[in-house]
């Protein structure tokens, strides 16, 4: 299995699009970008050594425009470092490395109608959905929830462009989305997409379940990635190397910091590229990739998000 070739890009513009969100426009250092499909993301690599971070960001520009890619980065106070680096260290003219686009959140094109729920910076994948849905003449509604003191980027442009197909809810103006009202009485063939915090995903799932909407009509993408946990030790059985995994680092990041490269794409426990065999230690599974049986067997883990349940894990690397 191959590791992914990275693309060197130059940051050609940075714009503060909401109090906590910066938009980065990227152009290839040489050659051309490829077009991409609605919902695709790239993994951005920034910094060096101890300060090297890799985060997945949705591409939010028009998928048919291969002159440049755009991403938006929300500053996360609880950040494990990547978003702070993007906000504070990266300047116009800097070079970054990105993975080629991959898509784990494509629209279900067989749907008769698409309802998009965005929370905060979760608007980004839908910005690439909108031009393609318009081009295809697809029926869709966008429900965009944010706090204007932090997020809410592009809400004015979207409202102007989409009219009553876009509903904005600014919690800082006490405007809230009644998810049950949006989801009730939708026609057969409606599919729902959620990008936002876990609480929003759970709320839409719970509402769907209550209304009897089939689970197959619900699609989501978490933008969180790895969450911190307890520190522990990871031992690599083939080399005998021992590494300390800090509370705010994932196993994958710890391996990378030690120059051990593992194929990976989504860094969020979805794509399955970074799966590792585990020979000892209890695992706290946090991924959406392994089957329940595989999780119970305790023999494989996704190092991008999952951690040790105890103090030590031995990986067969």
């Amino acid at each position: 299995m191959s590791t992914i070739d990275q693309i060197v890009v130059e940051v050609v513009a940075i714009e503060q699009v909401a109090p906590m969100i910066k938009e980065f426009t990227l152009q290839p250092a040489e050659g051309q970008f490829t077009p991409f499909s609605a919902g695709a993301h790239v993994v951005v690599e920034m910094g060096e050594g101890e300060q090297r971070y890799r985060n997945a960001y949705s591409l939010m520009s028009d998928p048919n425009d291969n002159r440049q890619y755009q991403i938006a980065v929300r500053l996360q106070e609880e950040s494990r470092g990547g978003s702070i680096y993007m906000h504070e260290q990266v300047a116009v003219g800097d070079q970054l490395k990105i993975s080629p686009p991959a898509n784990l959140f494509a629209p279900e094109w067989r749907a008769k109608k698409h309802i998009l729920f965005a929370g905060g910076v979760g608007i980004t994948p839908f910005l690439s959905y909108v031009p393609v849905m318009q081009q295809r003449g697809a029926e869709f509604e966008l429900h965009y929830m944010y706090r204007s003191q932090q997020t809410g980027a592009y809400s004015a442009e979207l409202t102007e462009q989409l009219g009553d197909r876009c509903c904005c809810y600014d919690a800082d103006q006490s405007s809230r989305c009644d998810i049950a009202v949006v989801m009730a009485d939708q026609p057969l063939g409606t599919h729902f997409y959620i990008c936002g915090p876990e609480s929003l995903i759970e709320a839409v799932q719970a509402t769907a379940d209550e209304l009897g909407i089939p689970a197959g009509a619900i699609h989501w993408e978490e933008f969180a990635g790895a969450k911190p946990g307890q520190p522990f030790t990871v031992e690599l059985s083939r080399s005998g190397v021992e590494l300390a995994v800090a509370a705010n680092k994932s196993v994958l990041e710890t391996l990378e910091a030690a120059d051990i490269d593992i194929p990976n794409l989504c860094r969020a426990g979805v794509c399955g590229q970074c799966v590792c065999d585990v020979s000892e230690g209890e695992i706290e599974h946090r991924d959406a990739y392994l089957s329940d049986a595989e999780k119970q067997s305790g023999q494989r883990m996704m190092p991008c998000v999952s951690r040790a349940a105890g103090e030590r894990l031995v990986l067969d690397i």
Binding site: M1, D5, P35, A40, P100, P101, E108, R110, G272
Partner: protein, 339 residues
Amino acid sequence: MRVAPKEIQSFRDDFTYTNSASAIERFPFPFPEDEYRYSVNIEAHQPKGGEGSAFEHYIDVDEHYLSEMAERELVLKDMPNRCLVMPHMDLACWEMLERYMVSLAEDYPEHFKLTRDGDNWHWENKLLNIDDHFTFGDGATLPRPPLDYIGRQVQGDFALMDQREGNLFMDAGMVTCPADWSLAFDAGMSFDEWHGPVPMVKSEGIIERARKYLMALPVGQPVRRLNWTLTVNARMDTSTEKYNEWGHERTTITPENVSEKVYLRVEVQVLDRMPRSNAVTISIRTYLLSLEDLVTNKAWAVRMHRALKTLPEALIDYKGLTRFHGMAVDYLSQFDPAN
């Protein structure tokens, strides 16, 4: 291209197909180790073996180009539904056409030329005397639908998979030289259903792992795997459609003719993500090499002998080798010093 296309040879009736010495040298021999193991064996589709190798370019155009294109015309004339496209795959087909034209023109400028001005494209294929102006994305401006058009100009079979509902569905393809399967029947199947008849893979979870891997395949990072079987005579179209015409040839093998009549059939399967449609294209390029040509490479002869000898019974049956497997092993054993 280091091997120039030669005059048309046949893959049926009188079987005039031959491999030149340089074609033998560059044959993509599929066994990396002595013992045969079924595995996902996916690697990056990047040049390997350098200039002149079968992996030098994204698409390998070799000395059999004209012969394979002529054979394809015969098959499609007889059975037009060897090329099938569901309507939602139109964009994916155009993307495949784009990918193939761009790489052919880049890698073989002496044979292919692509001139693009926005969506106005001009395509020249000097090997087949094709010279067409068309509008990219507008089927009415091409003589045939995009897959049918480009598929008749590139060696190998093609399948296009739509990605949805946590799976890949084979919703388009052009299949004129398959190793015993039928596109007309398998069309529309999920990746798992399509591989339903393959023995030994279910318990090992190989198909599921391969599917998950392919679903996460990024744009611009094609991968390849090799598959193989043995074919009697240099027959390209061993589709199940024509099994009633070629099946009997399996009974014609004798110890005397096994080396000239049995061919190692290798498929170089290249899997690639299409950027806009998010479809995955598979090209299945078939190479045929008779055992007598194969044993001119002593290392291959030894390895081929050991791989065939250790092939599990279920795979001998599945690959349809039962009637002549023993004769092939016996013939090859003389080249293996372990015997």
